[in-house]
């Protein structure tokens, strides 16, 4: 098998500074002209393995062969020199630079000694057109939503012209259309003789795109398979060690009174653009309302307005009848609103604090965690965290482990555990299963339905159409800051039409949309 391999990693073992053995004797090899899937549960060691290949991490044991010769990759620089490129799971962009500056960083076009800004922008536009990934060259990266950051990362790697391109969960926040485009692009790159390594938790994607797939579990490789020879179920069984059912069993929703009422909400951003434009809807106890749409059509601003993160100009938002316009984030939380943010690293956690301290977060004022004399109840905090870690199957050495040292999916689980465990009245979940493995996704989806049945109102924002359709009882489609359609009954709708709503080619009439506002 290694004979025709262009690149192979042999017997790779990696131990992290905190003693976690992320890779144990892993063998991994790829051929020229293939798209090679790499799958495994959260924390299985996929990112670590690829970071070793890209020179961001050093293996403690093991060798890397390139075209049959052993090579040393001790820095990303060395990797790039070998023609290896990587799109990272947690973006590695410079927030204070613009999209185009990030894109050409390190390979800047120059005029004399000076960075040629307009050429940089030109290059960005060309690339963006060529690969059909739309980005604004002049925007600062720190102002971008995650979906766009992802696109910048992908374009950046493509610009560097990698012969071996590693994509670490590139599709987590792309829309179906963008995904189709990306896949076509990747296939074309493959046909031109490049190799692509594709990490994803969405096995359907892996099936559709890859030629072969390596399955990892708990730091070890479970083998390489031809994609034709295995079904999705087979893969997830090898990965998780049991059968996984992603179809959520749920009864018909029994909506009660409204918890959240959004009335003619308008949000104007700093460029004076109406990013949320006069939208109205209500969300009732005991239902899951999905918000579908291509990312960047006002979903983020909507979530920010509801959770108190951003201000809004016109309109009103009522939670349980209370106008939240003047309320602080804390006061909104105290109304029983929990929030899963889309960008877990920037908003959802304190990377250098422990799991315990991250699980505490907004609950630190609660009576149960505090004793007399202003002291916190450390043993209760410890016990509650231990419970949550067990209940949500969070993989960590102990609840004292720094969150920074956990795999992406497990960080997400910490956030989900914190937000779900509090008997929330209203859950605003923005991409709740982003980057989570199939087993955990199943778990989180079940939980959401359970919470719904216990009377919570759930606003589910997701770029993953499957998720929206699978989980929601009804859903909105947002386009250009407006609600373009309201689909009341998820079980019967026209998929083609939905695509047209999402792209703004069609919209429902005012009366149909008006149904989103109950009573």
């Amino acid at each position: 098998m290694t004979s025709d391999a262009v690149l192979s990693m042999e017997d790779i073992t990696k131990v992290y500074p905190n003693g976690i053995v992320a890779n144990k004797g892993v063998n991994f090899s790829v051929r020229t002209g293939e798209i090679h899937g790499l799958v495994g549960e959260n924390g299985a060691g996929k990112t670590t393995l690829m970071q070793i290949l890209f020179g961001l991490n050093q293996a403690d044991v093991g060798k890397i062969f390139f075209n049959g010769k052993e090579i040393k990759i001790d820095s990303p620089h060395a990797a790039i020199a070998q023609g290896i490129g990587m799109v990272h799971q947690h973006f590695m962009l410079v927030p204070s630079l613009t999209v185009s500056e990030n894109l050409v960083l390190g390979l800047e076009p120059r005029r004399g000694f000076i960075f040629d800004k307009s050429r940089g922008i030109h290059i960005t536009q060309e690339l963006s057109k060529k690969y059909n990934l739309k980005v604004e060259p002049d925007m600062l990266v720190r102002d971008l939503p995650v979906g766009l950051k992802q696109k910048v990362e992908i374009l950046k790697a493509l610009y560097r012209g990698a012969k071996i391109l590693i994509l670490d969960e590139p599709t987590a926040v792309l829309t179906p259309q963008e995904m189709v485009e990306l896949f076509n692009e990747l296939r074309q790159l493959r046909d031109e003789g490049n190799t692509i390594i594709f990490i994803s938790h969405k096995l359907a994607e892996v099936k559709a795109l890859c030629n072969r797939v390596t399955v990892m579990r708990a730091g070890k490789s479970q083998g390489v398979f031809n994609v034709e020879d295995v079904t999705e179920e087979d893969i997830s069984r090898i990965m998780v060690g049991r059968d996984v059912i992603l179809r959520v069993e749920k009864d018909v929703a029994q909506p009660k009174e409204s918890v959240l009422k959004v009335n003619r909400l308008t949000v104007v951003n700093s460029f004076n653009k109406r990013v949320v434009d006069d939208i109205s809807f209500s969300l009732r106890r005991g239902e899951i309302l999905g918000v579908a749409g291509v990312e960047g059509n006002g979903q983020r601003e909507l979530v920010e307005a509801i959770t108190g993160f951003g201000s809004y100009g016109l309109g009103s938002i009522l939670i349980d009848g209370e106008d939240i316009k003047q309320l602080s984030i804390k006061e909104i939380r105290d109304l029983g609103c929990s929030h899963i943010p889309e960008d877990r690293m920037s908003y959802g956690c304190a990377p250098t604090l422990s799991v315990r301290m991250n699980l505490l977060s907004y609950k630190h004022n609660r009576r149960e965690f505090n004793r007399r004399f202003f002291l916190m109840h450390m043993s209760t905090i410890r016990d509650v965290s231990t419970e949550l870690v067990k209940e949500y199957q969070i993989l960590c050495t102990s609840t004292e482990q720094e969150v920074r040292c956990m795999s992406g999916g497990n960080i997400q689980k910490v956030i989900v555990a914190r937000e779900f465990s509090d008997n929330p009245k209203l859950i605003v979940a923005n991409q709740p299963t982003r980057g989570i493995d199939v087993g955990a996704t199943e778990f989180i989806r079940k939980r959401l339905v359970e919470l719904r049945d216990r009377g919570a109102a759930v606003l589910l924002v997701s770029a993953d159409l499957n998720e929206v359709m699978e989980l929601s009882d009804s859903f909105l489609v947002m386009y250009g800051g407006k609600i373009n359609a309201f689909i009341e009954d998820v079980s019967n709708f026209n998929e083609e039409k939905l695509g047209q709503y999402m792209l703004g080619l069609k919209s429902q009439d005012v009366d149909e949309i008006g149904r989103a506002l109950h009573d």
Binding site: N18, F309, K330, M357, N370
Partner: protein, 348 residues
């Protein structure tokens, strides 16, 4: 940090200290004409007599306060270097009360110390407030504030509190009731030591065991997450700086009431600067502040004693301090050893 990481940081800090000491010995050998005596005095001077030992403890006390002050401000990720100014100005505040007021013992210094603390908190609080209000860098403004503290302080002493009958530019003598009692004969060690030790414990518990400490730590690691957690970040930033300033101001007052009869500083005493090194050396952990303060005080007293009887200048201690800052902040120093240690543990 996990326990294992603390353990390693402890070890690493130890190596840094030893390296710094060895390098300073090397410098002595290279520079001095009497290296043997110099080294002996430098290393054992602080312990060779009760008086010298007293000097050591006397120096530890103010460093505990400025170290704690900087620690709490740094924990909030605010690089406020105002402890020096707050220490100085807090002492001036205390001087006014010590000179002008008439109160029973115990109460008199207590009031003076609290007053000094309040003045100190204004001093560190302002750069914090400027930061949250207008986004001005607290590093820059706190540095400049130190000079304002210094010159304004001298002005106040000169025009309001100066004893013209005394030969030098000093204040009127402090009321006897205001002074902190000496506790060990033949030294100047005073009751401020107890207050300092108690404050260390309070600050340790505050940082790791109370919700305010929690807020400051969350804020210091990720301000967006702090906001998301419903923490009032503006308030927390300002309060952490105010608290830091309070500790520094208290330290200045205690130093003054424990060690002096009149206000007589003509320059910034420098404990605030050293306090920054204390905080860095203690990794912003209040419980490690005493160790760090003791070490730095030892170096300082050692070199003072050495400079008195040999040709080595006592400024030489600045070299050690510089070296320590560089080594500690060089995060990759010894990281290979750490990794080997961990790999060995993990694989076996």
């Amino acid at each position: 940090m996990t326990k294992a990481q603390w353990r390693f940081e402890f070890y690493r800090t130890g190596v840094v200290i030893i390296t710094a000491v060895l390098l300073s010995l090397l410098i002595i050998v290279l520079v001095s004409d009497m290296p043997g005596l110099a080294i002996k005095l430098f290393l054992t001077g602080p312990l060779d007599s009760l008086r010298h030992f007293g000097n050591l403890v006397e120096m530890v006390v103010p460093l505990l306060f400025t170290g704690l002050a900087t620690t709490v401000m740094f924990t909030a990720s605010q690089f406020n270097l105002g402890a020096e100014g707050a220490f100085f100005f807090g002492a001036i505040g205390a001087a006014f009360i010590a000179v002008n007021w008439n109160l029973p013992p115990v109460l008199h210094p207590a009031v003076a110390i609290v007053w000094g603390g309040i003045i100190g908190s204004v001093f560190c609080g302002i750069p914090g407030a400027l930061k949250v209000k207008w986004g001005s860098s607290e590093l820059v403004s706190s540095l400049m504030f130190n000079y304002i503290a210094f010159f304004l302080g001298l002005y106040l002493i000169n025009y309001l509190l100066r004893d013209v009958t005394a030969g030098a530019m000093v204040s009127f003598p402090f009321a006897n009731s205001s002074k902190l009692v000496k506790i060990i004969p033949k030294t100047r060690i005073h009751t401020g030591l107890f207050i300092a030790v108690f404050t260390v414990l309070v600050m340790g518990v505050f940082t790791y065991r109370t919700r305010w400490g929690y807020r400051i730590r969350v804020l210091g690691t990720n301000i967006e997450f702090a906001r998301y957690s419903g923490i009032n970040t503006t308030w927390t930033i300002v309060m952490s700086q105010v608290l830091g300033g309070f500790l520094a101001g208290m330290g200045g007052s205690i130093e003054l009431l424990g060690m002096y009869r009149r206000f007589e500083w003509q320059t910034l005493p420098g404990y605030g600067w050293t306090g920054i090194i204390v905080a860095i050396l203690a990794h912003n952990n209040p419980f490690y502040v005493p160790l760090a303060a003791l070490f730095l005080a030892y170096m300082k007293i050692g070199s003072d004693i050495m400079s008195r009887s040999t040709d080595m200048p006592n400024e030489f201690v600045a070299i050690i301090q510089g070296m320590i800052i560089i080594l500690i902040s060089a995060s990759s120093f010894l990281s290979k050893q750490r990794h080997k240690m961990i790999v060995r543990e993990a694989i076996s």
